[in-house]
Symmetry: C2
Subunit: 614 residues, 2 copies
């Protein structure tokens, strides 16, 4: 009998060989920082080839320019002119949103796209300023310096913030820490963008109603107070607006003012490193830099997926960083890859980053010759351009789908929205990230445990919650732990497992079923364990031994089995009580239960010394 049983259980649990400490550290760092193995093409290449590949790696234009064709150019020319026509009014609008001189917006569509065209790896991304980052600059720097009273200092701080945003972005990329951007979840971005768009629209009430004095706060309450405290100041145009918007474009006379002719002046000397407001500029730079990165990287990646080519997120960050550092020295403020402009670029059929060069050239021509034409652009037109762009950012459909799929993500999204609209852009961001992280931490701190049952006619064991058809095995309690075991959840798991055992024993007592004999812990989902987790297992074993039951482990994974071995827990539980699958563990338990004898599967002997022969 022992022999036939042995035949059915031929799969021992393997303990992988121990890796040297240094090697495991090295592979850990590689997995953390180089998950996509960016240097695989360098392997087994001669030095000269490596040099060329390296140059092409850091300056991608060197890689694709030799293969550039006239066909591509025709496509890029059309796309570039199309996005230039968008870049000029958007640049002016967003600059005024950031409380910067409108011409800075135009400058920002000239130098950064050129830099990106050389360093960037996306074929579709169109470079430009974005509304949310502009708003953030206005809100964060506006607290330090009043842009109306001290426009020169304000501009200096904005350029300095751009410089630090660039440094930070490039540093993240160089250090391969791009995953910082991952902390902004999809839900956070949906809520945050919607909130920011709402706030931006509210700010446009200034332009629409023609108000001269306006709050520098961005929250709903302040804006509403500001708007309704000066109802007598509302311009009569606001009434007309409701009836006919077009009317406005002709009638209003609030204009953006004089635009200087000529290309970007250098602005290295404007970087205010010695300013007492430096800390605010650095903080603004880091926050806006991360937000801009998140948008730019996400946009680049989305479009690369359509065309099925690969983008290296960390390399993109270096490109964004370099473009902002260059920008801050040439009178540009923060730029990234705006979704709207990139979508237009893509739809216009762009083939490579040359469309950015075309756009920059078109903006250059505008700057050289056409700026006087914009002199009479009414403020209300700018406001309307901004509002039109913003309304697309309030993605209520995404919010509805979040509600349907994942309530918790919906809460994150709504918190970001409410935080931005009623608090400030930063508050919204911090709340949303905090809730997302907390949710993740809670799921680590409170991993679920499931009762498993046998799927009829199989050796498969699955959660009884999910598969109500799964059958209990009499005398055997099978529990699955749902996550890695760490110090934060070890105590919880100990309590929870002991409660499962207690409840099962109570249930069996009340129904008069056969008494519990074995507790099988399925460790399939336990990817790793720390010493607190091992102590927990030891305590669980002590508890189970104290109740005259037997602990059996199923499918410990390589990290877990290694540590169980080193900590001598494997000795204490006995290697013959560790099985490769739940099915095999149950088989062994059943064998023992039905022979009513104790069986040692390793020595393959049957002993009459019930349940504690090991």
């Amino acid at each position: 009998m022992g022999n036939s049983y042995k035949h059915e259980c031929p799969h021992p649990v393997a303990i992988p060989p121990a890796k040297p400490f240094i090697e495991s550290i090295k592979s850990g760092i590689e997995e953390t920082l180089f998950p996509d193995d960016p240097f695989r093409q360098f392997k087994n290449q001669p030095a000269s080839r490596k040099f060329i590949l390296g140059l092409q790696y850091f300056v991608p234009i060197l890689e694709w320019a030799p293969r550039y064709t006239f066909e591509f150019f025709k496509a890029d020319l059309i796309a570039g002119i199309t996005i230039a026509s968008l870049a000029v009014p958007q640049g002016i609008s967003y600059a005024s949103l950031a409380n910067l001189p409108p011409i800075i917006g135009l400058y920002s569509s000239f130098v950064p796209p050129l830099v990106y065209a050389m360093l960037g790896s996306s074929k579709d991304l169109a470079v430009g300023t974005v509304a949310v980052a502009s708003l953030l600059i206005a809100s964060m720097l506006g607290k330090e310096v009043n842009p109306n009273e001290n426009p020169k200092l304000y501009l200096q701080l904005a350029l300095t913030a751009t410089f630090f945003a660039g440094i930070f972005q490039a540093a993240l990329g160089f250090l391969r820490l791009g995953f910082v951007v991952d902390f902004l979840s999809h839900a956070t971005i949906v809520g945050f963008m919607g909130g920011a768009a709402t706030v931006v629209c509210l700010q446009q009430l200034k332009g629409i109603l023609g108000l001269v004095r306006f709050t520098h706060e961005t929250d709903l309450v302040s804006v509403m107070r500001s708007v309704f405290s000066q109802t007598h100041q509302w311009r009569w145009e606001s009434g007309v607006l409701g009836c006919c918007f077009l009317f406005f474009l002709i009638l209003t006379r609030y204009v953006i003012g004089h635009l200087k002719k000529g290309l970007n002046p250098p602005s290295v000397s404007e970087l205010a490193f010695g300013s007492p407001h430096l800390a605010a500029a650095v903080k603004t730079g880091i926050i806006t830099g991360v937000i801009a990165l998140a948008e730019g990287v996400a946009v680049g990646r989305s479009f690369s997926m359509f065309k099925n080519y690969h983008i290296d997120g960390n390399k993109e960050m270096v490109a964004f960083g370099m473009m902002n550092i260059a920008g801050s020295c040439t009178s540009c403020y923060l730029t990234t890859g705006p979704f709207s402009r990139t979508a237009v670029n893509f739809n216009a059929g762009c083939k490579t980053a040359v469309s950015n060069i075309v756009m920059a050239t078109a903006v250059m021509i505008t700057l050289q010759f056409l700026t006087p034409l914009f002199h009479y652009t009414p403020l209300v037109v700018l406001s309307s351009i901004i509002i039109a762009a913003m309304l697309g950012l309030i993605d209520y459909e995404a919010a509805i789908s979040l509600w349907k799929v994942d309530k918790c993500d919906f809460i994150v999204c709504i918190s970001a929205y409410i935080g931005v609209v009623f608090g400030s852009v930063e508050i919204g961001l911090v709340i949303a990230v905090a809730i997302s992280l907390l949710r993740m931490l809670m799921s680590v701190a409170r991993p679920r445990t499931f009762l498993l049952g046998n799927i009829p006619n199989s050796m498969i064991y699955r959660s009884i919650d999910q598969y109500p058809i799964a059958d209990n095995i009499p005398g055997v309690l099978i529990l699955q732990i749902d996550a890695s075991v760490y110090f934060v959840n070890a105590n919880y798991l100990r309590e929870r497992i002991s409660r499962w055992i207690y409840e099962e024993e109570e249930k069996l007592k009340s129904t008069g079923g056969s008494s519990l004999q074995y507790v099988i812990l399925d460790l399939s989902a336990v990817g790793s364990i720390d010493t607190s987790g091992i102590s927990m297992l030891e305590e669980v074993k002590k508890n189970i031994d104290g109740r005259d039951l037997r602990l059996v482990l199923a499918n410990p994974r390589s990290e877990v089995i290694k540590k169980l071995e080193k900590s001598k827990f494997m000795e204490s539980i006995g290697q013959e009580w560790i099985y490769l699958t739940v099915g095999e563990a149950v088989q062994a338990c059943n064998f023992m239960l039905h022979t009513s004898k104790s069986y040692n599967p390793v020595t393959d002997t049957v002993e009459f010394d019930a349940h504690d022969n090991v």
Copy 2:
């Protein structure tokens, strides 16, 4: 053929019924805050019984006192007298460690044990002051107020800190937030205790060398500078100490000073709520409160395990909190369950918390009649008592075992030690907790992915890393994701999976093997997923479709399958490409590969429309 195949694949993946949102929130909160289901005994009881059970729940002495026997009392009496003989010198020593009057240490062994005896649920815990918390009080309050210059204010702050520690502890217990203590991992505590013990021993150099002036800093550098800058001040006793310690007890004349006779005076009026140093007192209270809780709860739990009875951590916290609140009003400073005293209590054969009452009575008698006897206790004796107790806390064996089992835990432990010894108690704690959390976050942010292979002669699929005997399946790539998929790891997983596919295709190309056709994702270890994770799966599917491969999912768990269904991803992948086990998924893929036709297992038809019939 279709029919015979269908016969082998009879296990559909179940989608559990959707729970109402409120219900799932409720069960989530229950699992988070009441994992041990503390109120299960209240179920189905009449109201009067519920009242009595409730009283007994909150005041456990009511539950066990009626069953108290004379046999128990004899045991408790002996244990109580034993721990009292330890309590008096320890109390005096630790109070002087906290820079408090020695008598406060005695007071602290009178009221708190009485409170704990009524409210606590441990049968073995002996209440008293502890070295680490005493040291923390000295170090944190010493920064605010010099205990030598302003002893009265310092005492007031210490009592106030004790009050807030009690409030905080009780609040954690009432709100069932006891898991806060879990953030102090086993490794953190080992390193922290060792570091604190080292620091305490260093502080004793003052008493041993008989120095009058001494630094108020606790770090190694300051202490050494303080000691060696006044070598001319070293007492000649220090030389003698090396030869004969006992000699000291007779010769030295540095005494602890006058000890007032009589019981604890009330100290409610001493609580300095209006003090400008209130913030420091609150901070000290919270930090020392958590540390004291961690020690007390861990000690209580360890001994309850030996005797196999259950302790409710949250209830213990309420008991500790109440005992410290009561203590702060009766001239006691922070108490908890010290390991040393509890171990002595346990070894002396205590049966219930009555041993604490006995100890309190013995201390009361000491306070009433015997305090003059302690007048001539030499300071060096106190120092030697402290050092002897401290050396036991430097648990280098535990550190060695951490190194063997888990290098990362060892790093946490050593960081805590170094932080405490070279920085301060708080710095050590913060560093250790931060490293532990970071390690946990990293394992969430960088979940591993494993290549699975078939264990010969079975339907079992396991990681090829762990089981080198596992075989590849030609044409099929099987990947296992090792953790829940969240926004922080979604991007990483997308990159990593696409690299697995790329590498497999390269490998097959170079070896000329059969080309890749199927990618099976084993989701067994993915306990939950958020909307960013679902987007990731959608992108992975797009990528796989783009390479003319087919994505197959195996064993999605209930959380995952629910969300896949709601997000319409299940429609897009096709329910017939989701299998209960990897084995069944491989079977289906193999069937398709070998018939070279496309097969729809749901309609059970074979179509000649390769690989995209869904």
